[in-house]
Amino acid sequence: MTVNTPPADAPLLSARDVKVHLRVHGRVVKAVDGVDIEVHPGQCVGIVGESGSGKSTLGRAMTRLLPNVEIAELSGSVRFCGEDVLAMTPERIRALRRHRGLSMVFQDPLSYLNPTLRIDRQLGEALRHLPDRAVVREQSAELLRQVGLDDTRRILRLYPHELSGGMRQRVLIAMALAPDPQILVADEPTTALDATVQYQVIQTLRRLNKERNLAMLVITHDLGMVAELCDRVYVMNGGKVVESADVFALFDAPQNAYTASLLAAARRLHQTKALGVGPAT
């Protein structure tokens, strides 16, 4: 395993030797088996892996959102601003999610939005901590604008099913931004979207990362997204991190055989002849 030495300042979110072993159908599955991750303030870190690599499980363990499966072992330390996330009380976690803590964005926006509430109500819930209704309305509109949805008055009055997929995902990101988080954890945030919308959402995320200095942890199988968005990349396979590097270093000179094979596969798919763009094979 190759790891470049991390910078001297303390990380915002870190995982040390995290293990998540699950019990499925009587057998123990080592979904995450000793993983170290670091995200520094303002950094955009990507975790890349295929299905079964454990990346989603890691993301959920780090945000205390593991699904309702039997856990055989959950060990290691996850620290946010120095505090141990895994040992936090539920109240402390909730407080973190409400203000200046961690926010999470998932893959399928339709499942994560309440279908019976209008967007303004749902954003309002995320902005509960603000003093009065007028401020909430203003802030909701502002959040929508930040994710590139300018027609705020109309959108706030709509129900989730009346929005297109791309708009829903952006609303979800807006809701994740409401508590003014220090870090956004996104698990396959654009996989279910069309190509053009995917590109726009990725650019939105990038803008938020650079302009608001919002740290991000992006979990995805898509190397294209990682190339567009991330500063640093961790590659996961079989529950372990097999390589981690600066994004340019990783793509130019992968040190690990698995990483190299992933890149080769991506390039095989992206062999372009007419366009003249794309990596030299």
Binding site: E50, S51, E162, L163, S164, G165, G166, M167, L193, D194, A195, T196, V197, Q198, Y199, Q200, I202, H221, D222, L223, G224, M225, V226, A227, E228, V247, F248, F251, S261, L262, L263, A264, A265, A266, R267, R268, L269, H270, Q271, T272, K273, A274, L275, V277, G278, P279
Partner: protein, 292 residues
């Protein structure tokens, strides 16, 4: 050039539009589409959600009847087909679907699934069945001894898709219509399955209609491209031309939105776009309130 294997003229497919209480207008999933597929060529159909590409695929496969328009196989309209014609058609045109898990019967073993198809078209007898199945599995890169008695849930996504391809190849078709065959697969597996399709195509002069949203793949293997938007064809032509020098805004926006697994390219493109900001890419998903 010989006549096309498959051709479609003025295909329209609309849904809804009950006239009972005067409510609801019909929605056209496919809106007046013409196309031809020639022997041995790879035609790509590109579009996003709501473009009608999957509906069109099912119409071309003869699984869904169009509201109006004709599909012709070897010059003869399928609407005039008798049982024998359909049998011949089914031997010639086969599908591969997007989600390999749902394209295999969860309660059927691999060899059972393949044997029904082989038996139906008289391609194997009881005596030759095992050998035929072994041959099919080998042709898609799977070891018969290991995989013949497995159920779909015991297979990985890539293996399931290979079985689906084996089933399609069982009847020795002339044309395969593949609807997003790679989208549900992991990236490393996508490359393998793509390679498999390419080699099968080459070895048997197979025609391929590839529906895909991934322009990189389209560029890598197709001869001609059709771009669909909201049920209509907005651009069509040789791949080099359509992707290298698009004449339609929508095609241009698709190309602009393409992700490439190379951070240098990504950065270069960002710099170029900051210098000359383009209009927001057009997309069906972007137009909330557009006729859906």
């Amino acid at each position: 050039m010989s006549a096309p294997i498959l051709s479609a003229r003025a295909i329209v497919k609309s849904f809804g539009g009950r006239s009972w209480f005067g409510g609801g207008s019909a929605k056209r999933a496919v809106d007046t589409v013409d196309l031809d597929v020639n022997e041995g060529e790879t035609l790509a159909i590109v579009g996003e959600s709501g473009s009608g590409k999957s509906t069109l695929a099912r119409i071309l496969l003869g699984l869904v009847a169009p509201t109006s328009g004709t599909v012709a196989y070897q010059g003869r309209p399928v609407a005039e087909f008798g049982a024998a014609d359909w049998a011949a058609f089914r031997k010639s045109v086969q599908p591969v679907f997007q989600d390999p898990a749902s394209s295999l019967n969860p309660r059927m073993r691999v060899d059972t699934t393949l044997s029904y198809v082989l038996r139906r078209h008289g391609l194997a007898t009881r005596a030759t069945m095992d050998a035929e199945i072994a041959g099919l599995l080998a042709s898609v890169g799977l070891d018969a001894a290991q995989f013949r008695d497995r159920y779909p849930h015991q297979l990985s996504g890539g293996q399931q898709q290979r079985i689906a391809i084996a089933r399609a190849m069982a009847v020795r078709p002339r044309l395969i219509i593949a609807d997003e065959p790679l989208s549900s697969l992991d990236m490393s597996v996508q490359a393998q399955v793509l390679d498999l399709l390419v080699s099968l195509k080459a070895s048997r002069n197979l025609g391929l209609v590839l529906i895909s949203h991934d322009l990189n793949v389209v560029d890598a293997i197709s001869d001609r491209v059709i771009v669909m938007y909201l049920g209509r064809i907005v651009e069509a032509g040789p791949t080099r031309q359509v992707l290298g020098n698009p004449s339609n805004d929508y095609t241009r926006s698709l190309l602009a939105a393409k992700l490439v697994a190379d951070p240098h390219v990504a950065r270069a493109r960002r710099i170029a776009m900051d210098a000359a900001p383009a209009a927001a890419p057009i997309s069906p998903s972007n137009l909330q309130g557009a006729p859906q």
